[in-house]
């Protein structure tokens, strides 16, 4: 099982700033390991973010996204206390979902 994501969702006015850090190797399939063997492709393909169960942001990505991917995006129509969940799935079928409660900003 993959490590949990770090998600921060902070309300700034009427917009929620979301930052997500995912733990994933994002192997390009071009890198060689210490023994000189190619490390097979292993990368996140799809990401979905839901606000109170409704999809607000989604992405299809390639192996060109850096290792331990970081994404930030902005969601409208939410209030402090609402739930935001993020799900990713990789090319090997591995999947992870994490959820946070939106915090009021300063």
């Amino acid at each position: 099982m993959a490590d949990p994501m770090k998600i921060r969702a902070t309300l700034q006015g009427d917009v929620v700033d979301v930052r997500v850090l995912m733990a994933h190797p994002m192997e390009t399939g071009q890198r060689k390991d210490a023994a000189g063997k190619l490390v097979p492709l292993h990368f996140i393909q799809t990401i979905t973010a839901q606000l109170n169960g409704k999809t607000v942001f989604s992405a299809d990505i390639s192996q060109a996204v850096s290792r331990n991917p970081v994404f930030a995006f902005k969601v409208k129509g939410a209030k402090a206390g609402d739930k935001l969940s993020v799900t990713w799935q990789d090319n090997m079928g591995e999947k992870r979902t994490d959820e946070v409660v939106i915090r009021a900003g300063s």
Partner: protein, 154 residues
């Protein structure tokens, strides 16, 4: 040991298929957009844009791309993209000189802001092309990023 590995791989494959089906059913707007293999495996940005149906994008100054002029480390290049085109529903990114230029598409729904921050690998100095789609039309902008150490060979 091998037995477990085999069944793990099988289970993974089945789960991926189910999830793909589920995603297609749940997202009517993107029913055809289940991870566009053809676009992701295209070797040129133009071929990838054709596979996505956005090759006719017109130049626009309303797309802001913030990325370093010179990236010291090609393995982690931060990019911020904002589309100021009203009604933008998706943003796609192409790193033209990467082996597979199409890097991803970000979709915005339920009124989320057409902004995204991501970090990418750039193999050699390359134009970073962004395509924003709004109301069935496509707009594009480019920003050059110079890389001193590539990010693909690792």
């Amino acid at each position: 040991m091998h037995q477990t590995r085999r069944s793990f791989i099988k289970a993974g494959g089945a789960a991926a298929l189910l999830a793909a089906l589920g995603a297609a059913l749940l997202k009517p707007g993107r029913a055809l957009a289940a991870w566009n293999k053809g676009a992701f495996e295209a070797k040129s940005a133009l071929d990838a844009m054709r596979a996505l149906g956005v090759a006719n994008a017109e130049d626009s100054k309303a797309i802001e791309i913030r990325a370093p002029e010179i990236a010291e480390n090609g393995a982690v290049v931060p990019i911020d993209i904002t589309s100021n085109i009203p009604g933008t529903t998706s943003i796609s990114v192409f790193i033209e000189k990467n082996p597979f230029p199409y890097t991803g598409t970000f979709d915005f729904s339920q009124g989320s802001v057409p902004y995204v921050h991501l970090r990418v690998k750039i193999g050699e100095s390359s134009p970073v092309r962004v395509v924003a789609s709004a109301g069935g039309k496509h707009y594009t902008a480019v920003k050059e990023v110079k890389v001193t150490i590539g990010g693909c060979g690792g």
